[in-house]
């Protein structure tokens, strides 16, 4: 198989044919922040946090395949500020109260907020009214924290391929709906997987919580992305 040669911020990198910019960057020890992307699921480019610039054009690194000779800009100051804007936009679009959230410390949105040193968002809060769905035995859907990354839509299916989660409505009214009938039939393992898939605290396993205390959680030890960058610095 022939290797593709490309650069990220001037650094020479190699990729396998068919790899997306995000995948190839990771393989080369370069972290490109992502939220909606999840390894093993088809990328959908919904959060746009991974936006990079190639030949003056902006594109989502999670959906764009690497091409020979591509010069990817990843950490230009204006790009990083755009990403920070998008992270802040997520915080004003939903209702995120980190201190009381079961996912605090394991939440990828929160972790990105820290990584980008977000303080107060530049946008006005929208304070949407969002209904919580709790009528299934194992799972609850706390839509105040949902960022509509569509990971659950893609990743949680029944054996015959039916989607347990689906997007309903359009535009600013889009919400994720949990199919109560199908969610009621999920196994313990599937329910756990659904919660782990969710980058925030929107999908929660009922009846258990705070098994790992705050302070000893994933991003309490090291910032998001540092595993990718390990040994390469930044």
């Amino acid at each position: 198989m022939t290797e593709i040669r490309f650069t990220i911020d001037g650094r020479a990198c190699v990729a396998k044919p068919g790899q997306t910019i995000v995948e190839a960057a990771k393989a080369n020890g370069v972290y490109i922040p992502v939220l909606c992307h999840y390894e093993g699921l088809k990328p959908v480019g919904s959060c746009r946090i991974c936006t990079v610039r190639v030949a003056g054009r902006f594109m989502a690194a999670c959906t764009q395949p690497v091409a020979e000779g591509m010069a990817v800009e990843n950490t230009a100051p204006d790009l990083e500020d755009m990403r920070k804007s998008l992270i802040e936009m997520f915080f004003v679009e939903g209702n995120h109260f980190c201190p009381s959230c079961e996912k605090s410390g394991n939440c990828e949105l929160q972790a990105l907020g820290y990584r980008y040193q977000m303080t107060a968002p530049r946008f006005p809060y929208l304070w949407p009214g969002r209904a919580l769905v709790a009528g299934t035995p194992l799972l609850m859907l706390e839509r105040n924290r949902c960022i509509q990354c569509l990971r659950c839509v893609r990743g949680v299916k029944t054996k015959d391929g039916r989607k347990v989660f689906a997007a309903v409505e359009r535009g600013a009214c889009v919400t994720i709906e949990m199919d109560k009938k199908l969610a009621g039939r999920l196994s313990e393992e599937q329910a756990r997987k659904a919660m782990d898939l969710c980058p925030t605290g929107a999908i929660l396993r009922k009846e258990t919580g705070f098994a790992v205390p705050i302070g000893r959680r994933k991003y309490d030890h090291a910032p998001i992305g540092s595993d990718v960058e390990k040994g390469t610095g930044r």
């Binding site: 990328p43 959908v44 480019g45 919904s46 959060c47 746009r48 936006t51 902006f58 989502a60 959906t63 764009q64 395949p65 755009m82 804007s85 998008l86 936009m89 997520f90 004003v92 679009e93 530049r122 946008f123 006005p124 929208l126 960022i147 509509q148 569509l150 029944t158 015959d160 391929g161 039916r162 989607k163 347990v164 989660f165 689906a166 997007a167 309903v168 409505e169 359009r170 535009g171 600013a172 009214c173 889009v174 709906e177 949990m178 199919d179 009938k181 199908l182």
Partner: protein, 604 residues
């Protein structure tokens, strides 16, 4: 009784998820809604989750989980409709029906709902009532429609006079008028029926593509991709099957030129679709017809039947051995985003009309994941004429970069609204003179996603490279409020965003909110800088063309009319109140059930 029918309706469709929108459409038409029971039944039949079915129902304007009334009025909410007296018409509808827009009358007989531009901007205010188009509405006509529906007269029987041309035919019977103001040599030139198909099949497919490439035909939907190149890319893909998809979902507010082609020149369009099919090696062409134009469907089906009889479609199309080609019509269900080619494909496959990521492009992975060329109605009709008359003939018209003619839909404050076939390179001033739009304060070229041009820019040319447009031109007279226009456009984008990606879904809401703050007189200069920065952020990071153009109403008016914005903002940086304190207090008082001290505004 209704339920029994509904069950049969569902079961009559194939057990294929691709049939989802067709099933929903039939159920909606039968019962005026898609009930919980129907959702369950559809999900069971198509092996989908109920959440998925609800996802599809709630995506489209003309589908609903809640009752929409025995009869449903969809009143167009475009800016032109508002300029032509929509408010009074809406009031009349509400008074007569006994409910507000967004609701169903207490007797359940009539429901009133707003909808985005229905392609009748040259004859506003207009509405679709049970699939029947009513144009040039007045308050009296609105009342009469509701009274008629209540008395049991179907909408169709309330059409007492029909428009011109094919609008009069028994299969259409619409009060819509064509308003063809200028017939150009390409689309409206004399055309011998079938000539394009016969000429195409006598050539090699590559020669057909070559002729279109040499003509320099660029996509007429607005994006301007070279048509010949698109066909060539599609033909080169190795695949068992390829498709031609015609995008007949012109949803840009202010555009209606494809309505006129579909009404008066359907044969030319189908000839274009057939030669495209021959060129790329397809067996099937799909016409994706916007729901707003469903009244033309029987007419279009009849034309297809004629073409089959004449041997121009079907087995050995055009008499060419081995070329078996037919055209099917797929219906939309009301969604602006479905004019975006990959969203259109999703919708044609029976799903929510959410755009796809590119690459892969539709020429590689299109309809049913097979190579597909998606072309605009006008593009295909134009291609048919090019093949007959030759590339050189076509190239002699227009400008070097933008060959040929363009069909423009002109509406708003002008004496002669309608369709104009003009050569590329015409100035805005030249068009205003043709249409009788003297004294215009601004001209919106390309609809809300396009550019708002101030008089200083009336010398600019309509062509690729300057003012590129899919053809929507809205003229704003001297008395118009630019901010009202921008607000309507931003409402449109917020309403029509599919909601898939963050910047378009939330960014446009934030942009509109801050714009409202400025227009309300509470903005500062830093808000103007925010509008510009956030607008650029949304454009740069959005996933598809909708978000990439949605800030244009604000960005282009900031550029064309900076003095209007400057006059609105407080010079005192950062110290103005971000919200209307009085209104906020009134909300609080209302919630607490207490009357505020200051009562004037409440008793107006």
């Amino acid at each position: 009784m209704t339920m029994a029918h509904e069950k049969d309706i569902v079961l009559n469709h194939p057990k294929d998820p691709a049939a989802l929108l067709d099933v929903i459409r039939d159920v909606q038409a039968r019962s005026g809604r898609v009930s919980e029971e129907a959702v369950g039944r559809i999900a069971g039949h198509l092996k989908l989750s109920e959440a998925e079915v609800r996802g599809a129902v709630t995506f489209y304007h003309f589908f609903s989980l809640d009752p929409r009334g025995a009869s449903t009025v969809y009143l167009n909410d475009s800016i032109t409709s508002r300029m032509k007296g929509r408010a009074a018409v809406a009031r009349a509808f509400e008074e007569e029906a006994g409910c507000l827009f967004g609701d169903v009358a207490p007797d359940g007989k009539v429901g009133l709902f707003p909808t985005s531009c229905i392609g009748m901007n040259d004859q506003e205010p207009s509405a679709i009532v049970d699939g029947v188009v009513f144009t040039a509405l007045t308050p009296d006509k609105a009342r009469a429609i509701v009274r008629g529906l209540r008395a049991g007269t179907p909408a169709r029987d309330q059409v007492t006079s029909t428009g011109d041309g094919a609008n009069q035919s028994e299969l259409v019977r619409a009060m819509v008028v064509n308003n063809i103001r200028k017939r150009g040599p390409v689309l409206f030139g004399a055309h011998e029926p079938g000539a394009a198909i016969r000429k195409a099949v006598a050539m090699a497919p590559e020669q057909v593509i070559d002729e279109i490439k040499r003509a320099g035909l660029l996509g007429r939907g607005g994006a301007g991709f070279p048509t010949g190149l698109k066909w060539e890319f599609c033909r080169r893909e190795k695949a068992a099957e390829r498709f031609v998809v015609c995008n007949a979902d012109e949803g840009e507010p202010g555009t209606f030129k494809d309505r006129v082609i579909l009404t008066e020149l359907p044969r030319l369009l189908f000839e274009g679709m057939t030669m495209a099919g021959y060129a790329i090696g397809a067996k099937t062409g799909v016409l994706y017809l916007r729901s707003e134009y469903a009244y033309l469907r029987d007419h279009l089906e009849a034309v297809l039947a004629d073409l089959r009889k004449e041997g121009l479609l079907g087995k050995r199309a055009g008499g060419r051995e081995g070329f078996n080609y037919d055209i099917v019509i797929k219906s939309g269900a009301g969604a602006y985003i479905c004019g975006e080619e990959s969203a259109l494909l999703e919708s044609a496959e029976g799903k929510r009309g959410e755009p796809r990521d590119r690459p892969p492009f539709p020429v590689q992975t299109g309809y049913k994941n097979l190579p597909t060329t998606v072309n605009n109605v006008e593009t295909l009709a134009t291609a048919a004429r090019i093949l007959v008359e030759g590339a050189a003939w076509f190239k002699a018209m227009g400008t070097t970069q933008s060959a040929g003619t363009k069909l423009l839909s002109v509406s708003g404050d002008c004496e002669r609204p309608g369709v104009y076939e003009v050569e590329y390179g015409l100035t805005v001033a030249g068009l205003l003179e043709m249409a009788g739009g003297a004294g215009a304060k601004a001209v919106q070229v390309g609809g809300p996603s396009g550019t708002c041009v101030a008089p200083a820019g009336f010398g600019r040319k309509i062509c690729f490279g300057d003012l590129a447009t899919g053809g929507s031109i809205i003229v704003f007279g001297p008395g118009r409020d630019i901010f009202e226009i921008v607000e309507n456009f931003m409402e449109f984008f917020v309403e029509e965003s599919c909601g898939w990606c963050l910047p378009c879904r939330a960014g446009n809401v934030l942009l509109k909110k801050t714009f409202g703050k400025v227009v309300g007189g509470r903005g500062t200069e830093s808000d103007l800088r925010d509008l510009e920065t956030w607008g650029k952020l949304i454009k740069s990071t959005s996933r598809c063309g909708l978000g990439q153009t949605s800030p244009n109403p604000i960005l282009t008016t900031l550029k064309s009319f900076p003095e209007l914005y400057a006059a609105k903002v407080l010079k005192d940086e950062g110290s103005g109140p971000a919200f209307d304190l009085t209104a906020a207090i009134q909300d609080g008082c209302a919630a607490a059930n207490r009357q505020p001290e200051c009562k004037e505004s409440l008793h107006d």
